[in-house]
C-alpha cells in the first residue's frame, strides 16, 4: 500500500536525521584514536571498546595517566572531567529540589489564593524570563563578584533557580487550575489551612506536573553553558559543559576522548527524558493549546 510505504520511508528518514548524528558520536567514542582518524572513516567501530571511557575515569589516577597509550592524547584538563561530572550532578540535584519547593509554594499561592498583588506577582515572575540570558550575564557576573560568590556551586544553584522557576511555576499553575475547586473548598471546611490544602489536595494530585518540573529543572541545569562559563573559574565549581568546551577548543585533544566525554554528558539527560517522556511532553506543552 502506498500509504504504508510512505510512512516507512518517512520513519527511516526521521530516525536517520534524529538519531544519526548521536550514533556517529557514539561510534566514534568506541574507537581507538588510530581508528577514528582513518580516511575514509569507519562507520562502525572495528574493535569496539571502552578504552576512552576508562581513560576518562582514570584520568585523575597518575599511574594510569602516565600510560597515555590507551587513548592517544589526553587533554591537560582531563583530570577535571570527573570532578566536573560530580559538580554537574550536585548543581542539578540542588536546583531540582529547591525549584520544586519554591515553585510548588508560589504556584499554589498564585493559582489558589486570591490575594492582593496576585497578578502583579505572576507578571513579575514571568517578566524576568523575557530578558535574554546573554544580556543578564554581564550584570549577574558583577553582582555575584561583589557578593564574593564567583566560582562557587551556590552561585550556579541560585542562578539556575532563577532561570528555571518562572517556567515551572507556569507549568504548575496551569496544572493546579485544572484541579476541581470543590476539593479545595472541602479541605478548607474540614479545617485545613493553606498548608494543609497544599499538602493533602494539591501535592498528591499534581504528581505528573511535579515530575515535569523536576525534570525540566535538572535538565536545564545539566545543559546550561553560558552562566557556568562566566560564573566559574576552576575545577572547584566548573560543570561538565565547561570542561568539554575546553577540550573542543584545545587543538591537541584526542578526538576519541572528546567524543567519549560528549557521550557521558548526553547519557543522563537523554535517559531521564526518555523514561519520563510522557510527563515531560505534557509539561512542556502545557498551555500551548490554550494559546
Amino acid at each position: 500500500m502506498a500509504r504504508r510505504l510512505m510512512l516507512a520511508l518517512f520513519s527511516a528518514l526521521f530516525v536517520l536525521y534524529v538519531a544519526g548524528p548521536v550514533l556517529w558520536l557514539l561510534s566514534s567514542s568506541l574507537q581507538m584514536e588510530s581508528e577514528i582518524t582513518a580516511v575514509p572513516p569507519n562507520w562502525l567501530p572495528p574493535n569496539p571498546g571502552l578504552h576512552n571511557f576508562i581513560a576518562i575515569f582514570t584520568a585523575g589516577d597518575s599511574a594510569e595517566y602516565a600510560n597515555r597509550g590507551i587513548a592517544g592524547f589526553l587533554p591537560s584538563g582531563a583530570a577535571n572531567l570527573l570532578p566536573s561530572l560530580y559538580n554537574s550532578l550536585q548543581v542539578g540535584l540542588w536546583v531540582a529540589a529547591l525549584n520544586l519547593v519554591f515553585s510548588l509554594t508560589a504556584a499554589y499561592a498564585i493559582a489558589v489564593i486570591d490575594f492582593k498583588g496576585r497578578r502583579a506577582t505572576l507578571y513579575t515572575v514571568l517578566a524576568t524570563r523575557v530578558i535574554p540570558d546573554i544580556a543578564l550575564v554581564v550584570p549577574l557576573f558583577l553582582v555575584i563578584r561583589n557578593l564574593g560568590l564567583i566560582n562557587s556551586i551556590g552561585a550556579l544553584v541560585v542562578t539556575y533557580l532563577a532561570v528555571t522557576v518562572p517556567f515551572t511555576i507556569f507549568i504548575l499553575i496551569s496544572y493546579f487550575e485544572g484541579i476541581p475547586r470543590d476539593l479545595y473548598r472541602a479541605s478548607r471546611i474540614d479545617g485545613c489551612g493553606h498548608w494543609g490544602a497544599l499538602r493533602h489536595v494539591y501535592l498528591p494530585l499534581s504528581l505528573p506536573a511535579l515530575v515535569a518540573a523536576l525534570m525540566f529543572a535538572f535538565l536545564t541545569s545539566w545543559n546550561e553553558f553560558l552562566f557556568a562559563l562566566v560564573l566559574t573559574q576552576n575545577a572547584a565549581a566548573q560543570t561538565l559543559p565547561i570542561i568539554i568546551a575546553g577540550f573542543v577548543m584545545d587543538f591537541t585533544t584526542s578526538f576519541s576522548f572528546v567524543n567519549a566525554a560528549g557521550v557521558i554528558a548526553i547519557v543522563p539527560p537523554v535517559l531521564l527524558a526518555i523514561i519520563f517522556q510522557r510527563y515531560i511532553v505534557s509539561g512542556l506543552t502545557a498551555g500551548a493549546v490554550k494559546g
Binding site: 504504508r4 520513519s11 526521521f14 530516525v15 536525521y17 534524529v18 538519531a19 548524528p21 548521536v22 556517529w24 558520536l25 580516511v39 575514509p40 572513516p41 515553585s103 509554594t105 508560589a106 499561592a109 498564585i110 489564593i113 490575594f115 513579575t124 515572575v125 524576568t128 535574554p132 546573554i134 544580556a135 543578564l136 554581564v138 550584570p139 549577574l140 558583577l142 553582582v143 541560585v158 533557580l161 532563577a162 522557576v165 518562572p166 493553606h194 498548608w195 545543559n223 553553558f225 553560558l226 561538565l240 559543559p241 568539554i244 573542543v248 577548543m249 578526538f255 567524543n259 554528558a265 548526553i266 537523554v270 526518555i274 511532553v281 506543552t285 500551548a288 493549546v289 490554550k290 494559546g291
Partner: protein, 294 residues
C-alpha cells in the same frame, strides 16, 4: 471576614516571598544594575576610573562597524534557523500525527536532540563537519555529490548555515511537540466535514489544519526567534565568530566586548540593545500574528 482575608494574604506572602527574593537578587536587580553600568565607561582593567557618560556607549556601539556586521549575521542566522525549524517541525508534526505502528517509539526518539546539551551538540556537529575525518565529507564523496574533501566550517559563505543546521537539529523537536499538541486538539469533525465537501488532502491542510494551528505556530515562531537571536553556545564552540567575521553575531560581540576586552560599559549597552530588539520582535509577532483570530 477581614480576618479570613488577612490569613489569605499572610499565607500567600509566605508562599511567594522566597521566589520573589531569588528573582529580585538574580534577575531584577542585575537588569536594573546593568542599565546603570551601560551609562558608565567601565573598563575592568582600569577599576578606579569609571566616569558617567550618559548614552555614549550606545552611540559608540550603534556607529561601530562590528555592530553592523553582528546585526547582519544575527539576522541571517535567525531568519534561516526559525524558518527551517518551523517548516521542519510542521512536517514532523504532520507525520507523527498519523497513527501507525512504531509511532510511540518515534515520539520518544524526538526527545533525543532536545535533551542533548548544546555543548555536546556543537561538539558533535563540529566533528561531523571535520575537514579530514568528518562524516559529512565521507558521506557526500561516497554518494558522489562531492569530488574532494572540504573544510566546511572554514568556508565563510557556509559557516552560518552549518551552525544553523546544528541549532535546527536541537530545536526542531520542541517545536514539533508544541505543534503536535495543537494538531491533536483539532476536532476530527472538521476533517470529515471537509472530506464530505470534496476537499483534497492539500486543501484540508490549508483550510483546516493551518488555521487551527495558528496559536501553536505563533508560540513556536516567537519562542524560536527569541532563542535564535540570543544564541551563544554554538558560536563559541564551533567557530568563535570566525572564519574572519563570518559568524560574528550579536551575542558573540557582547561576549568579546565584555569578557575579552573587559569593556563592561559597552557590553551592557549592547545587552540592552539586544534585549530591546527581542522585545520589539516579540511584540511585532504578537501584534501581527496573534490578533487575527478567526
Amino acid at each position: 471576614m477581614r480576618l479570613r482575608l488577612s490569613y489569605d494574604d499572610r499565607s500567600a506572602a509566605i508562599l511567594v516571598l522566597p521566589v520573589l527574593a531569588v528573582l529580585l537578587v538574580v534577575a531584577a536587580y542585575p537588569i536594573l544594575y546593568s542599565f546603570w553600568v551601560s551609562l558608565h565607561d567601565i573598563v575592568l582593567t582600569r577599576p578606579l576610573r569609571r566616569p558617567f557618560v550618559w548614552f555614549e556607549n550606545y552611540e559608540r556601539m550603534l556607529g561601530d562597524a562590528r555592530f553592523h556586521t553582528a546585526v547582519l549575521r544575527t539576522t541571517v542566522y535567525t531568519v534561516v534557523t526559525v524558518t527551517v525549524t518551523t517548516a521542519l517541525a510542521v512536517g514532523v508534526a504532520l507525520f507523527l500525527n498519523e497513527s501507525f505502528r512504531g509511532n510511540k517509539l518515534l515520539n520518544a526518539l524526538l526527545l533525543l536532540p532536545w535533551a542533548t546539551p548544546s555543548i555536546v551538540n556543537g561538539l558533535m556537529w563540529k566533528w561531523i563537519y571535520d575537514p579530514t575525518y568528518g562524516l559529512m565529507n565521507a558521506l557526500l564523496v561516497k554518494l558522489g555529490l562531492l569530488d574532494s574533501y572540504r573544510a566546511w566550517l572554514g568556508d565563510p559563505d557556509l559557516t552560518l548555515f552549518l551552525i544553523s543546521n546544528a541549532a535546527i537539529w536541537k530545536q526542531m523537536p520542541l517545536a514539533a511537540l508544541l505543534l503536535l499538541v495543537t494538531m491533536k486538539a483539532i476536532p476530527d469533525d472538521l476533517y470529515r466535514a471537509a472530506k464530505v465537501d470534496g476537499a483534497t488532502v492539500f486543501q484540508r491542510f490549508v483550510h483546516v489544519t493551518l488555521p487551527a494551528l495558528r496559536p501553536g505556530l505563533m508560540l513556536v515562531l516567537v519562542y524560536e526567534t527569541m532563542i535564535s537571536i540570543r544564541h551563544f553556545d554554538l558560536f563559541l564552540i564551533m567557530t568563535q565568530g570566525g572564519p574572519g567575521d563570518a559568524s560574528y553575531t550579536l551575542s558573540w560581540l557582547i561576549y568579546v566586548e565584555t569578557f575579552r576586552s573587559l569593556r563592561f560599559g559597552t557590553g551592557a549597552a549592547l545587552s540592552y540593545l539586544l534585549a530591546m530588539l527581542t522585545f520589539l520582535l516579540s511584540w511585532l509577532f504578537i501584534r501581527f500574528l496573534g490578533e487575527r483570530n478567526p
